[in-house]
Amino acid sequence: MAQELVLVVIKMIVVFAVALLIVAYLTYFERKIIGHMQLRLGPMRVGPHGLLQPIADGLKLFVKEDIVPHDSDRWTFYFAPILNLVCALVLLAVIPFSYNFMVTRLNIGVLYVLSLASVGTIALLLAGWSSGSKYPIMGGLRSAAQIFSYEIFLGFSIMGVLMISGSLDLVKIVEAQSKVWNIVYQPVAFVVYVIAALGELNRVPFDLPEAENELVAGFHTEYSGFKFAYFFLAEYANMIVVSCMAVILFLGGWKGPVLPGIVWFLIKMCAFFYFFIWVRATFPRYRYDQFMRIGWKIMLPIALANIVVTGVVMMLV
């Protein structure tokens, strides 16, 4: 028993330490990749090719003055970034990086991820509300609107996969894809999932809650120092989770020839990061009413139709 506990603790530390490191370096890679796409070099000054830049950024945020606006709701203001980061990090607990490398195996893994991801969005609403300033409130309201718009079709897009694999357990879902990846059976669901994921991550073209050019910095306008870093880390941690989920649900998880499972998993995950970064460098931003229209009038019917078609096909086959 004690041995098991130690093992779990070690796994937790490894996963979270690696996750935080990846998160830090994800910002670096994003800046580098976007930089090269946009005829720039990205960070170059700190360390060789700017490799120490994320650490310098972290240190800078750590020593910055922690400003709390006068009109803010103090406790909520402190609570929101913590909630956001915690929600993002605990999601990693159930992600199976390979058949036997995960913190805990939960038989309702998908449900756990979906529900905690929604709680994370509430943190944005709290942050916007508690800042006591107008731009964050608008950012917060937008994120509230976004919860309704994307959570629903995100959930429905996964439904087809769940029907095929017949389980909410992430390991079983991957095992069910031993022969053919789910993306072959569920291409439509995959597209819907990716679009919903962009919404979930608040990234271009759906980065409405923090639309820099409209709302200054959206819900985190008033945040500074380490509280701001929490939001930042949470955003990138969410990126990892969303990419992991896509890999698990649609791309066969750790399945792949020759290389060990975890390597395959990381390769697929990185491909996803790259995709998100690529999208950011390419697309403009939707207006928030347009995003809502897309969610309710296009994505939701498509996702529902996909479930119906999947069900009918499964009955017949």
Binding site: I34, M37, Q38, L39, R40, K134, Y135, M138, V204, P205, D207, A211, E212, N213, E214, L215, V216, R280, A281, T282, F283, P284, R285, Y286, R287, Y288, D289, Q290
Partner: protein, 390 residues
């Protein structure tokens, strides 16, 4: 108005809810201050928006944060001394600003500018137009979220600035034009380098088109946003690409030709969409037309020799009288109205700045739209605050 949209007005419940809301909930629009320190207000523009949800009920423009009293300053400067001040009007298209000013003074004094200088001026003004439109496209796209276009545009603008630097040593505040001509002739190698630019530019412009011209998101953000009819636009004093986006054929270069524009072959860019997208198309086409003008000027300049400066008296003392001269600056009609009392300094100088006049149409354009559209509108009318505040 989101709340109202959600309620079915036809139904009894909808009516009841609406009555309830009116009686019990006192709602009031939210006032949002946008600028002067805001990432998308292009300098120090300040807008006060009255919002109902995210929908705009009313807009007030507050200007003056960059006021330097240019027009008053002019009264204390001699005519050549005021020239560098014009660079600081629309500081991203200083050649065009110089052009307007020297034309007015020359008209007042009746100076004939040599042919070669005329073509150099036209070429510089058109290069300026391209660089100004590039900045506009860059920032407009950035405001709507397309970040890459921004850096692509700055790459080409850099080439133009290098040309400016070659010709006069300055990149931004050039002061290259003089009353009676230009400061000095083009240096060796300028024509080749300018030709290189004319060759590359159409291909690069294609890159911008590939990124956003038919992009669905771009279309949904710009088509049918901030419509303004040609008539309304004229009444509000819109000029330049903004009015041409509303289907009005009005370009001073064609309608009241100055310098050598009537000897060159080019077309006015006009679109009939009246919206943000139409204004975007107009400027895209204008950049290509300007590129055409520049290459024609280069052809002529290669063969044409001669002085670049007219015989101008040492002390510029225009005769008593008044004059108005206007040019088609990248933003619209730029006019200089000068009253002379026969002394070496203007008695009164008034600048008709295109951005100032264009800005006034913003409240009309954004009414009923959303906050995100305000950004698109400010981007689409292309204001430079140096010119608005003077």
């Amino acid at each position: 108005m989101m709340e109202k949209g959600l309620m079915d007005k036809g139904s009894v419940e909808g009516q009841v809810t609406e009555d309830l809301m009116r009686d019990t909930l006192k709602t009031r629009e939210m006032w949002l201050n946008m600028g002067p320190q805001h990432p998308s207000t292009h300098g120090v523009l300040r807008l006060i928006l009255a919002l109902e949800g995210e929908r705009i009920v009313d807009t007030e423009i507050v200007i003056g944060y960059l006021h330097r009293g240019m027009e008053k300053l002019a009264e204390a400067k001699t005519y050549p001394q005021f020239l560098p001040y014009t660079d600081r009007l629309d500081y991203i298209s200083s050649h065009a600003m110089n052009f307007g000013y020297v034309l007015a003074v020359e008209k007042l004094m009746g100076i004939e500018v040599p042919e070669r200088a005329q073509y150099i001026r036209v070429m510089m003004a058109e290069l300026t137009r391209i660089s100004s439109h590039l900045i506009w496209l860059a920032t407009h796209a950035l405001d709507i979220g397309a970040m890459t276009v921004f850096l692509y545009c700055f790459r080409e603008r850099e080439m133009i600035l290098d040309l400016f630097e070659m010709a006069c040593g300055a990149r931004l505040t050039t002061s290259y034009f003089r009353i009676g001509g230009v400061a000095h002739d083009l240096p060796d190698g300028f024509i080749e380098q300018a030709r290189e630019f004319c060759k590359i530019f159409p291909k690069k412009a294609q890159d911008y088109d590939d990124l956003i011209l038919k992009n669905r998101i771009w279309l949904s953000r710009t088509v049918n946003v901030a419509k303004i009819s040609g008539e309304e636009g004229l009444n509000l004093g819109l000029t330049g690409p903004n009015i041409r986006g509303s289907g009005v054929y009005w370009d001073i270069r064609k309608d009241e030709p100055y310098s050598n524009y009537d000897k060159l072959d080019w077309e006015i860019a006009v679109e009939h969409g009246c919206d943000v997208y139409a204004r975007y198309l107009v400027r895209l086409k204008e950049m290509r037309e300007s590129c055409k003008i520049v290459s024609q000027c280069l052809d002529i300049l290669e063969k044409l020799d001669g002085p670049v400066m007219a015989k101008v008296p040492k002390v510029i003392k225009p005769p008593e009288g008044e004059v108005y001269a206007s040019v088609e600056a990248p933003k619209g009609e730029l006019g200089f109205y000068i009253v002379s009392d026969g002394s070496p300094k203007p008695y009164r100088l008034k600048i008709r700045a295109p951005s100032f006049a264009n800005l006034i149409s913003v409240p009309t354009m954004v009414r009923g739209h959303m906050v995100a559209d305000v950004i698109a509108v400010i981007g689409s009318i292309d204001v430079v605050l140096g010119e608005v505040d003077r």
